[in-house]
Symmetry: C2
């Protein structure tokens, strides 16, 4: 049985950890990898430096946890949005639009900073590759499911993978400027193309 | 008339500048933005630190020139490859494959490091946005030309833009792992989709 005196302390500790992880994503998205230190994240989270270092003794520990956290949040976001999709006409456009949203938010922006940093930092690279493969597989499976298509049909796998890559490219295009207007036109047109491609 | 005694010195100076710019792209692609300093680039280029600082007094000067240089090289690459495309069957796949190559090389990798750095560094961001708009327009125009389609046809603009975004996404997917096999499957399938979409 849980110790009733320890439970509130554990809750507080979990809440602190959560605040630090949220702050680390915000910090990555806004000031980038080099400027995101445990001290900066602690200040942003309103947590004492000591408490932050209790959770994350080193910067590597913080990023390791942040990558896991971002993976979970991105998958949860995909699941939530997938459940709210309309049926019938407009469904495909809603799906492609949802994907574009997932890949243009602050979470993707934070992930971009981490990916680029990881490309020249070995332990981080290995960890991200493992988790990205997981996110990629889950996103791919979710996309097949909401589009109601099967990979057994030749070409479907590559069609759907290409859509995910397009969404990633749209995310990148949104990094330095607000690309919303151009993006909406592409989402509309490629939804039509996708419907055609999956029907044939 | 050119001074015959000055000409060789000017040539040497131009060659040194060129070596420094090539080395800065290599350095960005291999060790990233934070580690790419004028001193590191000079050492990589085999140029004295003094000579490097004569060309690029500050790191900002180096990146400003590197961004211009990368823009020129990327456009020249697109033009060269566009001129070597086959005609008839297989042309569209050769085009999409060429695009995927342009967006997965060391030049794109170097550009990714710069873009992410620029997202949190104002003067660099403005400069890159201006030059990327130029590269984007030229790449878009070249793609319309080699695909032999016109933007006057409704939907063509967005179809072609989406393919460029897909290529950018493929470049990103190749940053942390060798994504060649998956990419070839997507290029093949998306070439078919593109042919269908542009024909209808």
């Amino acid at each position: 049985m849980a110790d009733p005196l320890r439970a509130p302390q554990q809750d507080r500790s979990r809440a602190t950890r959560q605040k630090l992880l949220e702050a680390s994503v915000e910090s990555l998205a806004q000031v980038g990898y080099a400027a995101t230190t445990v001290a900066v994240v602690a200040a942003r989270a309103g947590v004492s430096r000591g408490a932050a270092q209790h959770h994350f003794p080193t910067r590597a520990d913080l990023f390791e946890a942040a990558v896991e956290y971002m993976t979970e949040v991105r998958l949860a976001e995909i699941r939530t949005q997938a459940a709210a999709l309309p049926v019938g006409a407009g469904r495909t456009e809603a799906i492609v639009s949802m994907l574009a949203d997932v890949y243009t938010g602050p979470l993707f922006r934070a992930a971009l900073h981490l990916w680029v940093a990881a490309s020249t930092e070995e332990p981080l690279r290995r960890q991200i590759v493992r988790l990205e493969a997981h996110v990629g597989r889950q996103a791919h499976r979710a996309l097949l499911e909401v589009l109601e298509v099967s990979e057994k049909t030749p070409g479907v796998r590559e069609t759907v993978q290409g859509v995910l890559d397009m969404a990633r490219g749209l995310g990148l295009a949104d990094l330095l400027t607000d690309d919303g207007k151009r993006r909406r036109g592409i989402v509309r047109q490629w939804s039509k193309i996708l419907d055609q491609a999956l029907a044939s």
